[in-house]
């Protein structure tokens, strides 16, 4: 290897490291901040006596903020939205991948266009509607509205997975005497199982990370971690260590899930527009 090539290699690595410091430092700093005792919050930047008190306070319902309940709420509504979306989204994705029918493309584009709709357009009417129907600040109300996040994702990604299967597989199953339903459940579905798993996790992450729906459509009972984490910033004395601890606790599930589905992320993030 020539000297010049080796030098440019080092430069490239150095540039990468600079970017990754920018990308990772905030997360590392939150960890440091969350471990600081309250009396060392505003001094002794990188040397301090670490304590888990911040986490204890955040997870212990003190400060009048039931963070554990918000965490459970996030789990329930995100899981609910994903399950409901899978239930209605998988058949729709399969149908649109297998049959070209009148209006299929338009229906699919309409579904995708929700990905680009400003959330507040539907939230404000929903806010008024939910008040009337008693859905405000409830699990059902949140699951219902999180469809806007999870359903288009699941339909579009699973459509591209189903489209990649050759129809001959199911036709062979039909010749063997399977019904259409059996062909779907015993042949097509098992083959796209990795896709279903990946897209479910991704949809869960998106639902978990949503902020604007719970901000406006919940107040306390069904509030989620994204809104809950913000409440530690309020009050007369800023509680930076608690805010940092809450922020970190709230990002653990999405980070863990993301690392497990890394391989499938590209197709999911781009709604199937770029296949991995």
């Amino acid at each position: 290897m020539t000297l010049r090539k080796r030098l440019s290699g080092w430069l490239a690595d150095a540039a990468l490291i600079v970017y990754f410091v920018f990308a990772l430092f905030p997360i590392a700093w939150m960890l440091i901040l969350s471990l600081k005792p309250t009396n060392e919050l505003f001094s002794t930047y990188f040397s301090f006596s670490p304590t888990l008190d911040g986490y204890r306070t955040v997870l212990g319902d003190s400060e009048g903020i039931p963070f554990v309940r918000f965490f459970v709420n996030s789990l329930v509504v995100s899981l609910g939205a994903v399950l409901l979306s899978l239930l209605v989204g998988l058949p729709a994705a399969y149908a649109s991948a297998r049959w070209r029918f009148r209006g299929s493309e338009n229906l699919m584009f309409t579904l995708l266009s929700f990905r680009f709709a400003p959330e507040l357009t539907v939230i404000i009417p929903l806010f008024v509607l939910y008040q009337k129907l008693g859905l405000f600040d409830t699990y059902v109300g949140m699951i219902w509205v999180l469809q806007l996040v999870t359903l288009p994702l699941i339909v579009w990604i699973m459509r591209s997975y189903f489209a990649d299967l050759t129809p001959e597989l199911e036709q062979a199953a039909l010749l063997d005497g399977y019904t259409r339903k059996q062909a779907f459940f015993r042949v097509a579905l098992p083959l796209v199982k990795p896709g279903v798993a990946a897209v479910s996790l991704l949809a869960f992450i998106f639902a978990w990370n949503n902020f604007v729906f719970p901000l406006i459509l919940t107040s306390n009972e069904a509030q989620t971690v994204t809104v809950g984490a913000l409440s530690f910033l309020g009050g007369d004395r800023p509680k930076y260590n608690l805010t940092a601890a809450a922020a970190l606790v709230s990002v653990v599930p999405p980070l863990l899930l993301a690392l497990t589905i890394q391989r499938y992320l590209v197709r999911g993030l781009s709604f199937g527009a770029v296949k991995s």
Binding site: A12, D13, A15, I27, V145
Partner: protein, 293 residues
């Protein structure tokens, strides 16, 4: 006959759920024709007066301007940085292979949490950023307390969260490019810059464009980052359209007026989506001609 019906039967449940969302959308559109607010629970029909007010307000044009600045700034910075990171990772050194595994981390953090994190770091007197800048003589920058600083800071948070998105898509694109043109260029002794400009970039562009479209459209409707970082301030220097709609509809409880804002934004985003998606189709066809797979 049964066969022709089947796709519709399978798709109906999804459509019903979708209608559950379309209904409030229609309802919102209907509300905008009324003077509906907390102080006027029995609203009068005002037809298009809300929209007239929107378009004649300085506040709207200011918000529209801020929104465009934000969206263009964020999308441009993310594209540039994301493609650069992808190119560096594509060299696949040991450092690159290790770092690639953690590329997605910021992207998986909720934008509102990212904004909280950055808000803590950007505090003028106690934040870690000013602490680290002290040695170079920049110890007390008012990051989010000046109009320009607030806008740039919120763009920076967007860049922090979403650069990995562009990088991931660009990297996937780079890895799916055919190798033969690059081998031919290497044999011909083409320079790195020439190869990049004449081969890499044109073939990669369709992949990057998908990312750019997603980022631009998403940034036009940014809400959570601004809400948590600046709440639209100082003054109204970061009041993007969704924040303005939120302030009008929720804070000041002028429901129908606030919804008018979001309908205008929705129309703009929808039109932008149509234009960009059509352009994307054209670019993809062109790229397919240049590099048949």
């Amino acid at each position: 006959m049964r066969l022709a019906l089947r796709p519709y039967v399978l798709i109906v449940p999804a459509l019903l759920l979708t209608c559950g969302i379309l209904y409030p959308f229609g309802l919102g559109l209907y509300y905008t024709l009324f003077d509906f607010s907390a102080s006027k629970p029995q609203p009068d029909m005002v037809r298009f007066e809300n929209y007239q007010t929107v378009f004649t307000q300085d506040a709207f044009w200011n918000s529209a301007w801020v929104t465009v600045l934000y969206a263009v700034g964020a999308a441009a910075a993310e594209t540039f940085l994301g493609v650069a990171v992808a190119l560096l990772l594509h060299r696949s050194s040991i450092v690159g292979r290790v770092l690639e595994k953690i590329l997605i981390l910021p992207l998986m953090i909720a934008p509102v949490i990212a904004a909280i994190i950055w808000k803590l770091m950007l505090q003028p007197s106690v934040g870690v950023i000013n602490y680290l800048l002290k040695p170079v003589g920049l110890g007390d920058v008012q990051w989010t307390d000046t109009p320009t600083g607030a806008l740039l800071s919120s763009i920076a948070v967007d860049v922090w969260v979403y650069t990995p998105f562009v990088a991931i898509l660009a990297l996937a694109g780079l890895r799916s490019l055919p190798t033969s043109p690059f081998e031919a260029a290497a044999v011909d002794g083409a320079s790195w810059w020439y190869t990049f400009r004449r081969l890499t970039l044109p073939m990669l562009w369709p992949y990057v464009l998908v990312a750019v479209i997603f980022r631009f459209m998403d940034s036009l409707k940014v809400f959570d980052i601004i809400y948590a970082l600046t709440e639209g301030g100082p003054g109204d220097s970061t009041v993007v359209l969704q924040i303005r709609a939120y302030l009008e509809a929720i804070r000041f409880q002028r429901y129908s007026f606030g919804i008018s804002y979001t309908i205008v934004l929705w129309a703009v985003v929808y039109l932008a989506a149509m234009v960009l998606v059509r352009h994307l189709g054209k670019i993809q066809r062109k790229a397919a001609e240049v590099a048949p797979k």
